[in-house]
Symmetry: C2
DNA sequence: CGGCATGTTGAAACATCTCAAGGTGAGTGG
DNA sequence: CCACTCACCTTGAGATGTTTCAACATGCCG
């Protein structure tokens, strides 16, 4: 009863597979195996297994490329390796990054809404793509699979709601601190009390994720550095010295609210 | 294959039951029946049906009240009648409304995250509440139910993502226009080319949903009125004259992006 | 070791917020 | 049925944080 919430309530895996930086998996079999072991229940019947195998499309994507063909249909994408961003487009070329994804994550990419969406690779990626409608139809009778996908969807919903709070009610500094705290959870490598991040996304990506400009993000990195909360080296390495201090700066509610 | 996306891809129902303004349903049976016919698949077995019946808690809530007991557990709530808001709390008393819900909607209310969440009634409500973990366990083998809940979760995710774009990259006027366009879809009554809204939420609620202040919301209502796009009467009635014009002001992408 | 995208820092512009003072309307009690 | 009242909404003027525009520094890659 408890393990449901604790173990599988995530649309994405925290760090299980994310230390894998292999540029792209060599074979499609290997990609599909990753998908199957992450998403498909052990007890799934051979017929259903084969059905998903035949629905799957395999894409490798170089950094910065949008690996999905515009089919006009909703898509379900499994990130076998690498990292991606889901970008929403508004008028006047404005972009908002709606989510980041790492190896092991499952992404729902809508074809049409009030805004257009594009999935873009942050690193060389191996992706397994399904047409959403066909995927759902094939999953219709597979309770185990539906359960897994549902828990991941709810996890994604929780993340998206947290983002709404950040975007709606937080200062620039709180946004950057929240971002770093979240990334620490997802891809951070613990190191003597702190945590080291190797961010696959640029300052522009961070800005587009937090609803800020690159200049403001840069300034806030500076301030957090001056506060002794972090240290940067090169463009992508960030060492967080004080996770608790960062959380406080992030405007998170104290535990006993 | 197509009808999946078109018909059931919603965590919430658009207007099906939302014209029902009965303050609260008289009997718990009636409430549960609404839940059952909206969410439980027709073919569900008697045993499972009884299981959900016994898990359900029935609450009536007066306007402004938070009807959920703080159990420390995630909850799943079905809105049998009325309207609610899901509020997230940050430091310094800041609040962000993460979603609105109307009769027929299903809501996932997290117990603990980086921010605390409260579900609050906008109108007198009848609610059916389940502990999320037990709900998921009971649903584990019910593919039809899991499918329904998954489609609704994905719909909620889509809505939340659209909100991220609004909060991250839009001007005050675009936010208000987007809000009105969304409400028109969800609870609008068509009227000679336009659409009439009877908003159950206050200006403060709208502000807390859009990441603005009440003053800014009020000013933007004024500007949209001056532009001839809408007309207000009393505090809650808004008549939209030009849905297309509103959509344009909302910064939505033109159809051929 | 260049060349150039990416990131940093500074000063002025701007949108929204804050603070403050009226209006308005929905519900209440006479 | 009307007037009272209080919460809610509207409008105005000044303060503020973020953006914009611009110049400069850095570090990654060939």
């Amino acid at each position: 009863m408890t393990q449901i919430k604790d173990v599988v309530l995530r649309w994405s895996y925290p760090q299980a597979m994310s230390s894998d930086h292999s540029p792209g998996l060599s074979t499609t079999s290997e990609q599909f195996d990753r998908f199957a072991s992450a998403i498909l229940p052990c007890g799934i019947c051979d017929r259903a297994f084969a059905r998903f195998r035949s629905l799957a499309r395999f894409d490798g994507a170089a950094t910065g490329k949008a690996p999905l063909a515009k089919t006009g249909e909703d898509q379900i994408v499994f990130v076998a390796s690498g990292a991606t961003k889901l970008v929403a487009h508004a008028t006047h070329g404005r972009e908002q990054i709606v989510a980041f994804h790492f190896a092991g994550d499952l992404v729902s990419v809508p074809a049409r809404a009030a805004h257009a969406y594009t999935l873009v690779a942050l690193q060389p990626c191996a992706l397994v793509t399904f047409p959403a409608a066909a995927f759902m139809l094939a999953a219709r009778a597979e309770a185990g699979l539906l359960n897994e996908v549902l828990q991941r969807a709810l996890r994604a919903l929780d993340r998206s709601r947290e983002k709404s709070i950040i975007l709606g009610r937080k200062s620039a500094q709180e946004r950057v601190a929240s971002f770093l705290a979240t990334m620490a959870e997802r891809i951070g490598a613990p190191q003597d009390g702190g945590c080291v991040l190797d961010l696959p996304m640029s300052r522009r990506d961070i800005a587009d994720s937090l609803g800020l400009t690159i200049e403001t993000v840069s300034r806030q990195f500076g301030e957090l550095r001056d506060l002794g909360l972090l240290e940067t080296s090169g463009r992508s390495i960030v060492k967080l010295h004080d996770l608790a201090g960062l959380d406080a700066r992030a405007g998170h509610l104290p535990v006993a609210a």
